[in-house]
Symmetry: D2
Subunit: 305 residues, 4 copies
């Protein structure tokens, strides 16, 4: 019945060994495969083969994968992409991505590459599915359970939002609009299900860029633990711990060693398509983004990869 | 595309004034209507007209409402109910329930009354949808944001599970089974979307009974605050604060003044239909239900309304 | 046996009504007396008459009071002050301060006024001392239970530290020193008992100034709640929520409407005189002060009152 | 100036290997020495050589050590013990206890052995005292930072309280009394400084017994983590997570493999000798001990070692 979730984020890193240490030792992900200049990783509560791919050579986002519930979703999305027009639509084949099945690859109007697929090899999570413990008894670092969402940057967020709404059946949960009644948006948070956002889009002077991709955390206590570990491990923190006004989520923005921005994210309310979309106006944008500081920091609108 | 969530729980109470005090002063819900022997209530983050109905006269569950995403879901569910056979299917009309539109009423094989509907009057939540604060500055008691799920009791949980799977498109996230490989279940937790459970079914010697209905809480800290308030307000606690092994949720079971069991529930992982269903076997049932005590208390399998 | 705790902070404010609103509506203190241009306030878990005095006219610290355990402590401290030499020592009389008994007033080498006293009228806390509840069922705003400590600024922190050590029997728990082995300090945190600090002293270009005075909070969850309320109430946040490396405390710095810096502070380890004093060197000062940001913000070393 | 804190608890265990696993693998203490049938352990934030001694052979408390601030405290306490009369007073010598200096050994009227001492070898804590991290990056299990207090059982708690007040200069912070105005107590919580209790005494039909000894935890989140680990490690939980009405502390009672009751304890307000002593009456005892359940469980008044 459509997109289940962001299945993977694939990013470039300048130094693979350094990046691997960040995602494993600090964030606590497990390496599930290494393949030439790529390392595949997953969080402890994920059962599919990987949720993050790091590839040596440069910096910045390569593409995102979104997993669909039913095989027939692929054809429907392909058709909707063709009808939408303002995007590139291609078939992708099993094996184009390690352990990932057939799918459809879109290049959005914002120049982000989005792959939708139905199959990824399952490797099981770390507590199993038979009388499981609540969490793994032995953990490393922040021990992120799973990937959560991404925020991407492009020049026309309203158009990119239309892509996600019309082609992939997402719906907006919160929007920054020039005015209270407006179809235009300066930024938008979109859900494919009941998560407060699976992807968000921020308007900026560039195309095809990543603002950050995020990992789930249990709660505000886990956010403090993460911040402490970032300090111990000399991870560069952009901002946080703090709360977002938008989504109500509890958060830290930080950078991987190559400069890709990561986030750890807890809380956030449950999204429903019949819930009125929350609208933020520019005068309250600072509070919307960083609820406590009530102003954007410089990096927010200038650092993306 | 189907059921969004449990929209309301309607229960009988022996003393309306006493019950109203419990749901408002202790739990912090707002009264949105009073109508003869019924009081309608909602949590602060709910925008639909009500999520709990208390009706004077006796004790125990009257029925549950589930809201659907699209009007055409109603006809589809009606048809699926007729095909399923082992249930009563009736049309219900706008006005049968205060502020609720047309719908379909099912009596499940476990003799629970389930109403599905598409429309309920919207009254807005308490922070609004325009540059909202993260939560209401002034709150009462536990200040539950919203209803979450219910656990019901009947004699054939496997059959009732089939009803929710085949008629209403729910899927099980966790099951207690006599053996690891078994189609039978002794209890089952079912999701209609990405919430870890929208309804759960427990096998017992009776039909049509309520084990508990639950309210969401933000996190483990909110659970402690709730427990403290229950003590201050002389609310009878059944068990908790503790964790469930099943769902991983953080919980308190407690009773309203008439003896209907309520729950406050935080945490729980995000459900997906492609996640392997978790299976519990009877030898680990105690740990599954109450993760810390690792045994059922007497009330769990004997007190229902 | 010496100083029990900081009993009161007395500060000037530019607008009494505005300040009163900050300390009562936002911080949740109670007014226990109003007296001309002064308002007296206490937190919910304090039993003595007041812990904060706000006085209209200007901005900045007037003085601090420290309560002693035994009446004879006053004479001993007076004698130790006279022996120390580098301070002004005066007797103060019952009634010099509302509801406060006889005492001794010191002007420290850093030009801070410190009053020690044995008696203050007791008005009881808000839960009482007979089968008490864990906290008051009805609270306002942040609902600070009690004052905690202050950080003051002067030109010679080593000398001021000597005053607190030799005259008032405090001992340092953490120090910032130019080198690992050094009697000099650039800042020092001092305890009179087992609290991680009752007063701290920061070196700067001025004398007799206040950096901040702090209120206790229960834990990291209470810190988030406080930050949210500051945002709702338009309180200016200096930094936080974050952790201090020094003391390990969880914190927010913020300003009252007149610009006096306040802090809410949770956690921190228990101090003992036989615990080795923690030493920080200037290269790690940023991490010592703000454990997550790992650098001082501009305000830290330039804004004091 | 008197007792600083409980320095060590020395208990018998039936199986040393099993007990060692409990205190190291589950609780995360470090072994600092092994000596025939004894193992010495400390928490990560303790700098003295050990805080727990487990000795093979039986079950139950052997003795407690309390560290004093000044060497001359020993002679004063010895004299006060002789004046008190109703106790045995002996000198103990350096080497009587591994790594512990000279001291005085008391047998209280409740037949508990209490050793006071001034010197124990310092081995440092796990983060050091020079630009330290907030906590150790790698931890095992619950990772208790330090021992906190003990509750002991004897026939005349009022008399034993007098011992701690008159001989060792403790003061009561909370008491259970037959009536609101009464010098008698059925249980008493005593502080030597500003911790809410360093020792507590419960009346019962036996002499010289241990109810439990406790470890500090950071906060309510750490209590949940501990409870989860106890479940994973098959540790027998007596009760909790819950709150005490008395002390307001957040708690779990559990048993080591030999049946000695342990506690993890967070929160609790700061004690001061000028704070009115809290009085509980028998009708509210259940709420005083277990604030949420509001009744004693059977084990509370019958299981001690």
């Amino acid at each position: 019945m459509g997109v289940l979730r962001m299945g993977y984020a694939h990013v470039r890193v300048t130094d693979l060994a350094e990046a691997k240490k960040h995602y494993t030792y600090t964030l606590g992900m497990k390496v599930t495969a290494e393949d030439g200049n790529k390392v595949y990783l997953k969080g402890w509560d994920e059962w599919d083969h990987h949720s993050v791919v790091i590839e040596e050579g440069g910096v910045g986002v390569v593409k995102f994968g979104f997993k669909v519930e039913k095989l027939e979703d692929l054809a429907r999305f392909e058709k909707q992409g063709q009808a939408f027009g303002d995007c590139i639509v291609e078939r992708m084949s099993k094996g184009d991505n390690l352990e990932v099945g057939d799918g459809v690859r879109f290049t959005t109007p914002g120049e982000h590459v989005i792959e939708v697929y139905h199959d990824m090899s399952s490797v099981g999570n770390e507590v199993g599915f038979h009388n499981p413990e609540a969490w793994p008894r032995h953990q490393e670092g922040v021990a992120v359970p799973a990937i959560d969402h991404a925020l991407v940057v492009c020049q026309d967020p309203t158009l990119s939002e239309s892509f996600f709404r019309e082609v992939l059946d997402f719906y907006p949960t919160e929007r920054v609009q020039p005015e209270l009644e407006s179809k235009e948006c300066m930024a938008t948070w979109l859900s494919a299900g009941q998560k407060i956002h699976d992807i968000a889009i921020l308007g900026g002077p560039v195309q095809g860029k990543l603002h950050h991709f995020a990992f789930q955390l249990e709660d505000w206590s886990a956010v403090l633990k993460a911040a402490d570990i970032f300090s111990m491990d000399d991870v560069s923190i952009d901002i946080g711990p703090t709360r977002h006004g938008i989504t109500r989520g509890e958060t830290i923005y930080f950078f991987d060693p190559s400069g890709n921005r990561n986030e750890v994210f807890a809380g956030g309310y449950r999204a429903y398509p019949d819930r009125p979309c929350v609208v933020w106006t520019p005068d309250q944008l600072g509070k919307g983004i960083f609820y406590h500081d009530r102003k954007l920091n410089e990096a927010f609108t200038s650092v993306w990869t």
